[in-house]
């Protein structure tokens, strides 16, 4: 069985500051890893994903995440956040054959001016 733990339910941060949203997973098989973002009253949008290859993956809006197999982590980082990054962020995992996503409970990122 697979599970995901997001270690912080809320992360308040000031604009232009760096941020890290932590995600740990548990699985007995190799996994695919994802970060989704959910803005208020909207569906989830894929932010970035790790399937294989380079352990550092990047999104088009400045976020990056690093797959660390030994620590079973997939933390999300951004060196300088904007007000518009305020949203709920979900880490998710699936098995190598795909299928259902197992989500963490989410981290609410609140960027203050």
């Amino acid at each position: 069985a697979q599970s995901v733990t997001q270690l912080d339910s809320q992360v308040p941060v000031f604009e232009e500051a760096p941020v890290e949203l932590r995600c740990n997973y548990s699985s007995s098989v190799s996994v695919y890893l994802f970060w989704y973002v959910q803005y208020p009253n909207q569906g989830l949008q894929l932010l970035l994903k790790y399937l294989s290859g380079s352990t550092l993956v990047e999104s088009i809006n400045g976020f990056e995440a690093e797959f660390n197999k030994s620590q079973t982590s997939f933390h999300l980082r951004k060196p300088s956040v904007h007000i518009s990054d305020t949203a709920e962020y979900f880490c998710a995992v699936s098995g190598p054959q795909g299928g259902k996503l197992i989500f963490g409970q989410g981290t609410e990122l609140s960027v203050k001016p």
Partner: protein, 114 residues
Amino acid sequence: EAGVVQSPRYKIIEKKQPVAFWCNPISGHNTLYWYRQNLGQGPELLIRYENEEAVDDSQLPKDRFSAERLKGVDSTLKIQPAELGDSAVYLCASSYASENNEQFFGPGTRLTVL
């Protein structure tokens, strides 16, 4: 390219009433998912379709929930009768295939059961 479409966006009903949600996936996507998202939690899979076939419905409460995906395109999720604990956001997602698992989500239907 149009995204995943869901309707209605909001639904308020009294307990014991029936309710149905509709989903139109992205054109060409053969895999369709229904998730339920309770307040303050991440989504949880209810059912997954590969074309017309339900290949994973292990988390679907079959005593009151049912789903169908006629012709392998649109899908309907039904609850009958609804209970107070069914209040949640119901999300539909689709993907080309389940292998790489990049799922595209609709905006969801927020159900409130009074």
